[in-house]
Symmetry: C2
Subunit: 212 residues, 2 copies
């Protein structure tokens, strides 16, 4: 995935942040950064630490939407779409330092000659587009009716990514179930059936697909 500041060096970031009048804020572990419905008009850059985005279901279920790590940004789509209301809770997973960069500053040419502005805009477009494709893939998966189909699509994705017979998945079973939109124990059951039928093999998070 392309990041907003890809291809821009650390020292140049400083220049950009100044040019953008970016606001620096620090948060302690578990502190709330944003709440649902809160107004937001900035892309947020994680300079240090790690934050998590959590969806609070009506039913009280808390689902981790995403984890944003050092050097990454988030909220691009929300602020660029003009909605400008935070759809989820955002917590600090660790102590964290963030930069809030007003989106208007990014979208409008800077008065000073700002060399990296063009690159930044292109990164913005590219990263949102990539996210878009990712979401499309997930929708395709979620519209499959059988759990087995979903599992196979999921595994195939990580097989291609690792490009190896044996590959690692980055999720726990619970997370995987969440991604596939199914019940954890049902997932566990189906995985074991597939293993018994010699369709796949796995040990912990190492998987392989046994096609003939």
């Amino acid at each position: 995935m392309t990041k907003l500041f890809d291809g821009i060096e650390e020292k140049d970031k400083e220049t950009l942040f100044k040019c953008f009048n970016a606001v620096k804020k620090s948060f302690f572990k578990d502190e709330i950064i944003l709440e649902p419905e809160q107004k937001i008009d900035s892309v947020i850059y994680v300079s240090n630490g790690c934050i998590k985005i959590i969806k609070d279901d009506f039913d009280g279920n808390k689902i981790i939407i995403d984890t944003i790590k050092k050097g990454e940004t988030f909220a691009e789509a929300v602020v660029c779409s003009g909605i400008k209301k935070c759809p989820n809770f955002v917590y600090a997973q660790t102590d964290a330092t963030l930069y809030f960069i007003n989106i208007e500053k990014i979208l409008n040419p800077c008065t000073e000659a700002c060399l990296f502005h063009k690159k930044l805009l292109q990164n913005l477009v590219k990263s949102i587009s990539e996210k878009n494709l990712f979401l499309n893939q997930r929708i395709e998966l979620l519209t499959k009716k059988s759990l087995r189909e979903r599992i196979l699509i999921y595994l195939d994705k990580y097989k291609q990514k690792n490009n190896n017979k044996i590959f690692e998945i980055p999720h726990s079973r619970e997370e995987m179930a969440q991604y596939l939109g199914v019940n954890r124990s049902a997932l566990s059951r189906e995985l074991c059936i597939m293993k018994a039928q010699k369709l796949i093999d796995f040990h912990k998070n190492s998987f392989s697909i046994l096609t003939n």
Copy 2:
């Protein structure tokens, strides 16, 4: 939804197309415009007619992904993401005239003084972002386990859009089922049960939610 040329007048479009060296092509009804895996590096503007994007399932199921009408563009996300391979079939639903606009031309500042370039870039970012949010909403819906929940989320969406007790939905039952990721007859069954339980009411495509 924001369109790529929102806020840009017809006569100015001409200027832009020239500035971009856009390629004009015409297609007859049912002609194939793009095939899966085909290389693509242009955003496509539908100047006349109407085209449809169709996903060809391994199983042979054909699913209409989207319909693009006169004045709209498509393929933004694919070409901006750098994938640059068409993921689906694209057909002409009617006779159609299209403009192919190379994405590099859009992303890079024009040598000539092109007044609308900035606006165009901002539209691009906004429209992809909006699409992004739309996809997120759909994912949220698709991860609901019960059909009833999905129906209610779906209806609520169109209720808010129409902002009226009685509102229209833009899908046939088959399309609605496809959007919800469920079986059509199961959808029909559940809708009627909900009507019997006085949770909702509907006649053809007019719906209302009977909350107390």
